[in-house]
Symmetry: C2
Subunit: 108 residues, 2 copies
């Protein structure tokens, strides 16, 4: 046990859950917000900005990269990260779709 039973859910449900998981951590939210605010893509600054160890930040960046949300470009000794606007929009659309469902007030 301890393993999510993805087989029993729809592809859409699994995908949405994976997307949400990618951003369901304060550090990753902070990273995303900083990447957006800083516009020009930063990298090692994140270690200073947030108070986490370099290894930890690197790990979070990797997860965001796996999710497709960010891109990293090597620039000399450093790596420049930035949001992928296309994937960002996909996320936005997917979540809008989920929350578009109307909730009826006549509850139990």
């Amino acid at each position: 046990m301890g393993l999510t039973k993805t087989e029993i859910f729809t592809e859409k449900q699994n995908k949405l859950a994976t997307m949400l998981k990618a951003i369901a951590h304060p550090a990753r939210i902070a990273i995303i917000q900083h990447l957006i605010k800083a516009q020009a893509c930063i990298c090692g600054d994140l270690v200073e900005e947030l108070g986490l160890a370099q290894a930890t930040i690197s790990q979070h960046l990797k997860e965001l990269k796996n999710a497709g949300l960010i891109q990293g470009t090597i620039e000399g000794t450093s790596v420049c990260y930035c949001i992928d606007p296309k994937v960002w929009k996909q996320y936005k659309t997917a979540l809008e779709g989920f929350f578009a469902m109307e909730i009826s007030n006549n509850c139990c």
Copy 2:
């Protein structure tokens, strides 16, 4: 370690992460979707609908309840669950706010 360092993030970031975490699981997404579709609030049907054990469903319901997303009303021997429209809207607004940020295309 293994403990998220909530102290170093803003209240907003932590709250958003918690909200996302609550729905970042296919089973909970499926539960929410079924509760919305079934409109009239169902309960034990979820055990049949999804292929998870009763104890597992109950645990997911508890998490959704903790998140404030659903309400449970005792109705005889069973419990009727439904989405809380107010909290649902709060979620929607919070996520819209997050994804409202404009992404610049001039990346690295």
